[in-house]
Symmetry: C2
Subunit: 332 residues, 2 copies
């Protein structure tokens, strides 16, 4: 049985969407147990409303909540009875295999680093994210955990990303590229030039050289590596541009009577074409290199993203990917 | 009379689209003269084909061409008879007011820095670009000239960007934001924290604080400042994501008979809604802070972008924006 703790009081749509996501994940996997952390009275009430009960769904009372405007580090240190801290501590103490939260990014990162700690040999834990591309999905890291990164950290991110894609996503020999402002060897800043050399000389990864940001949405590699500042800016630009396009398309559809009729006719095909780009299909962002499985969902996650993140955490834990990462870094 | 030199042999669609762009720019502005640099036999032939002649269109023979795979610095130094170098030298020697090219970015940047040189007080010339947003257009810089930037350079970029938007685009008191991975003061890397303090303490610019990349397509400020590595990655992510969306939309339209009929009905409204996001409306990327006006167009520019870039160069030169920049930096 794989035990996944879900922070029932993290995210904009908690606890309702979190509970629904947990229930639907349980329906998909028979050897999954979900532990909800949060105010037990509210959670019991909500479960009762849904008429759902299962011996694979447990509630652990954690009445405190960490809000988005709190300092993450002090919140993690002080709020021992929060749904977030209590969940992470269960992983730390071996009472659960994985932790999932749509709560404060800062608190999830701080909790992972302070409470779980790093796997031996890991210098910094990167936050990865699965981004939908024209060819499927790429694993992009680091997208927010370590600004002012050092070259060796990025080499480690490439290794951990490759292991993740192989073991959690089931890819054979995943390709790796490094984000740069051009493809020629002499292009780039001091960091990318140094990382490029390290990646070239590492035989454990399938390094394919530089890529430009433009190629990322087209699925240029399975693992895309960047420092957290660049990575965060790129992922947010991806989200911002996609959002702008959807708004513009909707505006065009509503423009006049003819466009409204056209929109009705094209809608089914449009939904089908856009479906692979729905990020909620792919779960959340794993924090790699910590002693435990941690998945951070978008703050605005609904039932589907929560469900997929719980299943992602389940696969991550079941595949013992962290043991494989630990073994790979042991040799370094 | 404002004299703009156009590199007739730069870009994927040269010289045809370049000549057409020049002719159409001349039709829009009566006090504009365009000087085409390139192989005079070919250019005369092409003009003859178009049956166009004007005393405001001059040809200067420059039979060499700088290709994309040449080392920019050595090409600029050696190929004195190239359409690119000859054009820039005309600006340097006061025979023309501005230079426009869709040729090699590296050669344009190298030419601007090596041949024209920096305005007094300017530490590094940034490459800016006008990006279409939900609210109109933002001026984004640096998008490729200076990686491993220093904080003072970014302060200068903010100043030059503000002066450009005021004098070339006619904006009153343009707002400035700095790209960061979060909005709180403690967020960011070492560079952004340092730049943030410099920007806050500069009274000549209308600084509005940090922005996240996600907000840029929505038009969060008139001037957006970033180091060239982040900026280049963001702009290319914007282009890559926009390209992916257009491809996906076209795929949906062609999906089946019903969607094809729907597409026909919605097409006019869609084109209208997408029109403001056509980058060719806004001309090219100005290299600021050099002794002369330089505009770099996209390599794949067609007639419209060339025409708009020539007009942009004309306005840039006519507004004497470089004199204003020089004056602002004199005091520093």
């Amino acid at each position: 049985m794989i035990k996944v703790v879900l922070d029932a009081f993290g995210g904009d749509n908690c606890p309702g969407c979190n509970i629904d996501g947990a229930i639907n994940a349980l329906k998909e996997k028979d050897d999954l147990k979900v532990i909800l952390t949060g105010d037990e009275n509210i959670l019991n009430e909500e479960l009762k409303k849904r008429g759902f009960s299962s011996d694979r769904l447990e509630i652990v009372n954690a009445p405190e909540v960490i809000s988005l405007d709190e300092s993450p580090v002090s919140a993690v240190r002080k709020k021992k009875e929060s749904s977030l801290v209590k969940g992470i501590v269960m992983v730390k103490e071996g009472e659960a295999d994985a932790f999932v939260s749509a709560g404060s990014s800062g608190a999830v990162l701080a909790g992972g680093q302070l409470l779980l700690g790093r796997l031996p040999g890991v210098q910094r834990p990167p936050l990865g994210t699965l981004i939908p591309t024209a060819k499927g999905v790429s694993f992009f890291l680091d997208m927010g955990a370590n600004v002012d990164a050092k070259a060796e950290w990025l080499l480690q991110f490439a290794k951990m990303g490759s292991i993740y894609m192989k073991n959690v996503e089931g890819l054979d020999n995943p390709t790796v590229k490094l984000v740069n402002i051009g493809l020629e060897d002499e292009k780039g800043n001091a960091l990318t030039k140094e990382v490029n050399e390290l990646l070239k000389n590492d035989e454990t990864i399938n390094y394919q050289g530089y890529c430009e940001a433009r190629e990322v949405p087209h699925g240029t590699a399975d693992v895309i590596v960047a420092d957290a500042f660049t990575g965060n800016a790129m992922i947010k630009m991806f989200e911002g541009t996609a959002g702008l396009f959807l708004t513009t398309m909707k505006k065009a559809f509503k423009d006049n009577l003819i466009s409204k009729i056209g929109a009705l006719l094209v809608m089914k095909s449009m939904k089908k074409a856009l479906k692979p780009y729905d990020v909620s299909n792919y779960g959340g962002a794993p924090l790699l290199g910590v002693k435990g499985v941690m998945i951070k969902c978008h703050g605005n996650s609904k039932e589907k993203e929560i469900k997929n993140s719980v299943i992602q955490a389940y696969v991550f834990a079941k595949s013992k990917t962290n043991d494989i990462i630990a073994k790979a870094f042991e040799k370094v």
